[in-house]
Symmetry: C2
Subunit: 153 residues, 2 copies
């Protein structure tokens, strides 16, 4: 029963995140369409950040890749999703967390990602600022093998 409560809570939380995302779309004067709704739901339900290809598969190829690319770009502009840049230059997408952006420990094998709760970006950007740089942003990601993959591999 304890597990059941947790499941319910998790579901609720998902629903909230979906609703928030959808509001951002309609509040921006954009339209809520089937692809947008489903892509957001898939991201909300996912246990890990997803690639464009992942999203295509999980939506059963119902939507053109172009549609996925274009909507992820819209989502990114609205702050609905964050992008995780992998070592190989590829992108993963996940719904934005509490903060405007976060960093991750990403498993190279299963691509599961844990958010790193402390962000050292401030210190880095302060340093960059002292060197005369402006309009700053930063990327920080850690890659490794997660406990699950390690025991399997």
């Amino acid at each position: 029963m304890c597990a059941q409560i947790r499941t319910m809570a998790a579901t609720k939380n998902e629903d909230v995140r979906v609703a928030i995302s959808q509001n951002r779309i309609t509040d921006s004067g954009l339209r809520m369409t089937a692809p947008r709704r489903q892509l957001i739901e898939i991201l909300a339900e996912s246990e890990r950040p997803l690639s464009v290809e992942d999203l295509s598969q999980r939506s059963k190829g119902k939507f053109d890749l172009v549609t996925i690319y274009r909507n992820l770009e819209v989502f990114r502009e609205l702050g609905i999703v964050e992008v995780i840049l992998l070592e190989n230059g590829k992108n993963l997408f996940e719904l934005t967390g509490e903060h405007d952006h976060s960093h991750h420990i990403v498993c190279r094998h299963c691509l599961k990602a844990e958010r790193i709760e402390f962000c050292m970006g401030g210190e880095l950007e302060r340093y960059a600022s002292s060197r005369g740089f402006s309009n700053l942003s930063h990327t920080i990601e850690v890659f490794g093998e997660c406990p699950d993959c390690e025991t399997k591999g």
Copy 2:
């Protein structure tokens, strides 16, 4: 004259870096060829990290793109070059500095990059380790507009 001494010192330093890189190749049983020699020289002389396309242009198209790709991969494996992963997923290459790897403040416009001398990777990897992850690596880069580009732009 002071400037002249500095120039000479800089040239010397370049030569040393070229020599070190070349040694790594021959010590590995690989061959020193014209493309390898020139690519290393171009990287050594460059005022900023270079893309594959940059290297192609600076070598006046003398070498096939394939050759550049393949050699950069060899250089990376030998630790001769480091890769800087830009926000857009593209790569820049520079000769490895004192340390095995470093992080940078990269100007979005001119792509000049300053090495960040303090690496916070240790702390990050210690945290990842405590979460059960192994075989760790990390990326940290800061992006902004450098003082030169700011005044121009």
